[in-house]
């Protein structure tokens, strides 16, 4: 212990400049002495001309003040009940997921380059991969991409690589989320391949049109189940066959909840499955978790991290990042992807959430996603001036309705009443129901009745 009292004003915050740098003034002096310089400034080797001597005009604030500031800022968001989906879904996050994932050993750890002190996270990611293997029926799942859109982009570049000599087109459905389409374009910007849409038939893939569109120049056919409009595809096997017949990869977009109930991708010939795996996260302004699974045949073309099992020197099962020669830090410009930082912690949360639900809970959630979509369609259809569902298909979690009024005006009116829905065309709205807003559906329906 240091002796003698000092005035508390003499060294506010113990002489610290940053609350997160532990150095007291005395320690700093001692360390500078050890290094042999007079001040920290002498340690910087920056030419004078480019030294920064201005200010950012950023006032430091106390922790409590920042919490209030951000809370006040976010309070400017209107308190709306959201019936929004289209690729970003709000499922209830169990408290256990929050508490366990927040353990600092997980939250503040790094990519597992030293597996001997990262067995916990590696095992959790291995379990995440395994869950996706079970859900997709494919042999390989990586341990995360950024989101569904970038996973789709990675699938397309994989397709271009493995089909490099034979094509230049990626076929995507007419009904596709704008963001996914735009990101796909970005990921193909460095290749010779382009993206083309094929038509839908009442909300699902128009097989005939797809058959017309596909040819040997096609490297990948993408379809979704459920689609961005919530419809459930009815001919996945045929789409898979069509792709296979033309030596194109069949990439299917889905998510873990849907995968637990709908047709297994492997059984309909999917070569790659992508999508949003973000269970355990809730609504997060678009932050997600990219699911990426594929056939073993493409193992060495997989983008991103893979965790595998091995043995330690005592012969016990151990986990490690594997097949790293695919990755940027080793293969550099010949890597399968540029991805480095990924969404590992979100994958951890997703795995926790799936485990918390268990198979019953997950499948029940999927079944409810079907019944809820069907029920809200019925309720909407009973409203004067509204017809639902627009597509005479089975639906998952969300559904499109036709409105006599202009859709965007109705959306605005509903927003004034406290509800957020999608307006996706002049007279089309879309609504999504999960366990987080199911108890407000009747309120929404009443509000729609009032504004329809």
């Amino acid at each position: 212990m240091e002796g003698g009292f000092v005035s508390s004003d003499e060294h506010p915050n113990g002489g610290r400049g940053s609350p997160f740098a532990p150095h007291t003034a005395a320690e700093t002096t001692a360390m500078l002495d050890a290094v042999g310089v007079e001040s920290e400034d002498h340690l910087f080797d920056i030419p004078e001309e480019i030294e920064f001597d201005g200010t950012f005009d950023i006032e430091p604030r106390a922790e409590r003040a920042i919490r209030e500031e951000i809370a006040a800022m976010l309070d400017r968001n209107h308190d709306l009940v959201e019936f929004l989906g289209r690729g970003h879904y709000d499922h209830y996050v169990p408290s256990a997921v929050d508490h366990l994932a927040d353990r600092s050993e997980f939250l503040t750890s790094y990519t597992q380059y030293q597996p001997e002190v990262a067995q916990g996270f590696l095992q959790a990611l291995f379990e995440y991969q395994s869950m996706l293997v079970e859900l997709t029926g494919l042999e390989v799942a990586n341990c995360s991409m950024y989101d569904a859109a970038t996973a789709l982009g990675e699938a397309a570049t994989l397709a271009v690589r493995v089909r490099a000599t034979s094509g230049d087109r990626v076929l995507v459905p007419e009904h596709l989320h704008d963001g996914r389409r735009a990101v796909l374009d970005s990921y193909l910007a460095g290749t010779d391949a382009g993206v083309e849409s094929y038509p839908m038939d009442d909300g699902i893939v128009d097989r005939d049109a797809l058959a017309n569109a596909i040819d040997e120049g096609c490297v990948m056919v993408y379809a979704e189940n459920p689609t961005v409009r919530g419809t459930i595809e009815e001919s996945l096997g045929e789409i898979g066959d069509l792709a296979d017949d033309h030596d194109a990869l069949f990439c299917l977009g889905s998510d873990p909840v849907a995968l637990s109930l709908l047709e297994e991708p492997a059984s309909v010939g999917a070569d790659v499955v992508v999508g949003d795996a973000a269970l355990g996260l809730g609504a997060a302004d678009g932050m997600g978790l990219g699911l990426f699974a594929t056939r073993e045949a493409f193992l060495r073309q997989v983008p991103g991290r893979l965790v595998g099992t091995g043995e330690d020197s005592e012969g016990r099962r151990a986990y490690t990042l594997t097949l790293q020669t695919r990755e940027q830090h080793i293969r550099r410009e010949r890597a399968t992807s540029n991805i480095c930082t990924n969404q590992a912690w979100v994958a951890l949360r997703a795995a926790m959430h799936v485990a918390w639900l268990g198979p019953d809970g997950l499948v029940d959630l999927a079944k409810e996603s079907v019944t809820r979509a069907s029920e809200i369609a019925d309720q909407f259809d009973a409203i004067d001036g509204v017809t639902a569902p627009v597509h005479d298909r089975h639906h998952f979690r969300e559904v499109v309705a036709r409105t006599d009024r202009e859709a965007s005006a109705m959306k605005d009116d509903l927003e004034a009443e406290g509800y957020a829905i999608h307006a996706i065309d002049d007279h089309l709205v879309q609504v999504c129901v999960t366990e987080t807003n199911a108890d407000r559906v009747d309120d929404l329906v009443a509000a729609v009745e009032a504004v329809a």
Partner: protein, 473 residues
């Protein structure tokens, strides 16, 4: 320490035949782990005990900036008001947009840039974004350029991102002093040069003091200068990429701004650009909205608050993320920057550089390149990976190993500002004890960890990537 797989503890196969769907639209069933919550809690608690995080001890991974992650930033990111859907109307998420706008503004100031996108969800995504911007810029100006120049000591993502964007990579050898060889650069640039990607301080911790000349060389050839922000922690408040001549840069908020690494992510890789490149940023961007009512053209809502709007930049490259990036990470970034402010940011670089220099002064290793800033690369003199494994036994996380290759058996060491002197002394002892240990001790290390040395080559030869693969054995 051993924890069975979840599926080994409890597993259930569930049919789906009572689904409210025709049979041909459903699968037969799924088999998944079925732990009750008490078992779930123990499983993940035990796994966490087999994992090393920043709160467990020093974590001096070079170029990774494993600094302390203040927990209050988690609290603000967990505010229920932050949990919004990305398709919400502009009017209804003014709070989100304000935070995004303010954060972009702060980042622009810190980097000396004119405009910032928050969309890239990671550093590599930022690189890709930046290179796409460069590409779009050149194309817009009628320049068909095919090459990106990258120093050989650069981060692997630079190469991969350039390749993903369709560029050929020209690798630039280092000069003897570990920095960019300006003559070699002069020789390398041409009409084909789209950009030079550079980290400063570089991966040896050295400041590229010829940066202005380097910028001139690249600019004179019509190329752009890209700044890899991985090492920005070293310069906070002391030098800005924009002032050095960089045209485009990314920030690694999970490095410089202390958002947690999460075992590999999520991070965020905002990209800053000079004014000329702002029209190429991804869409949407956020700006202050010009109020219809205000005569002076200033953005203000009825209650005097500024209002914000989304817009698509004129020549936008489009999108690099399906929505608008890793929002919750951005909230944490905002909170961290607000906590530090100008003095804290400047103290951060001071202490980051002091810590690296102090640690180096306390260990008995050869450090070929100086003067370094926030990180140094020591030469292990023997197998760097073995030395690293042995350090695990001494209760610390080891440095990045065997890279950059310019140093023999490299130990790339970045203690960050968050380590106390006592922690650095502890770390120094681990360095020196490992150095003093016998070859045998090193080769059999680690011996005090949850797992002993893992044979990664064997794991790669026989990949078993799911519990299904174990079942098959």
């Amino acid at each position: 320490v051993y924890e069975p797989l979840l599926v080994e503890k409890s597993s259930r196969a569930v049919e789906t035949d009572d689904a409210p769907l025709p049979d041909d639209l459903t699968r037969d069933g799924v088999e998944l782990p079925d732990p009750a919550e008490p078992e779930l809690a123990r499983h993940y608690t035990r796994l966490s005990q087999m994992n090393y995080g920043v709160e467990n001890g020093p974590f001096p991974l070079g170029s990774c900036t494993m600094k302390y992650n203040p927990s209050f930033t988690e609290d603000v990111a967990a505010l229920p008001e932050a949990a919004t859907h990305p398709d919400r109307s502009t009017d209804s998420v003014q709070g989100n947009l304000e935070l995004r706008h303010r954060l972009a503004d702060s980042l622009a100031r810190i980097g000396g840039m004119d405009a910032v996108t928050l969309q890239p969800p990671a550093g590599a995504a930022g690189e890709f974004t930046g290179i796409l911007i460069a590409k779009a810029y050149h194309e817009q100006n009628g320049n068909d350029r095919s090459e990106i120049i990258i120093p050989e000591s650069a981060h692997g993502t630079n190469f991969a991102s350039a390749a993903l964007a369709g560029y050929e990579v020209v690798s630039l050898p280092s000069a003897d002093d570990g920095r960019v060889d300006v003559d070699a650069l002069r020789a390398a640039v041409s009409d084909d040069t789209a950009a030079l990607m550079l980290t400063n301080p570089n991966t040896l911790g050295l400041f590229e003091h010829d940066i202005e000349e380097i910028a001139d060389v690249v600019h004179d050839a019509g190329g752009l200068l890209y700044y890899d922000g991985a090492n920005l922690n070293a310069l906070l408040g002391r030098a800005r990429p924009g002032d050095m001549g960089f045209d485009v840069m990314h920030y690694n908020v999970h490095k410089t701004f202390a958002t947690p690494h999460g075992g590999g992510g999520p991070g965020a890789g905002p990209v800053g650009v000079v004014e000329e490149l702002a029209p190429y940023l991804p869409t949407p961007q956020v700006r202050e909205a010009v109020s219809d009512e205000a005569d002076d053209g200033e953005a203000a809502s009825d209650d005097g608050e500024v209002s914000y709007e989304r817009f698509a930049p004129e020549h936008s490259i489009g999108k690099v993320h399906g929505f608008a990036g890793n929002w919750l990470v951005l909230v944490k970034t905002y909170a961290y920057i607000a906590r530090l402010g100008d003095p804290g940011l400047r103290d951060t670089s001071a202490k980051a550089v002091l810590n690296a220099n102090y640690l180096a002064s306390q260990i008995d290793y050869d450090i070929p390149f100086e003067p370094f800033h926030h990180e140094f690369v020591a030469s292990a003199g023997r197998d760097a990976a073995d030395v690293a494994k042995r350090m695990l036994d001494y209760g610390v996380h080891p440095p990045t190993t065997k890279w950059p290759e310019i140093v023999d058996e490299a130990l790339m060491t970045e203690p960050t500002e968050a380590e106390s002197r006592a922690a650095l002394d502890h770390l120094a002892r681990a360095f020196d004890r490992a150095a003093a240990d016998s070859d045998e001790a090193l080769e059999t290390a680690p011996e005090r960890t949850a797992a002993r040395r893992i044979d990664q080559a064997d794991a790669a030869r026989n990949p078993r990537l799911s519990w299904h693969a174990l079942d098959d054995e």
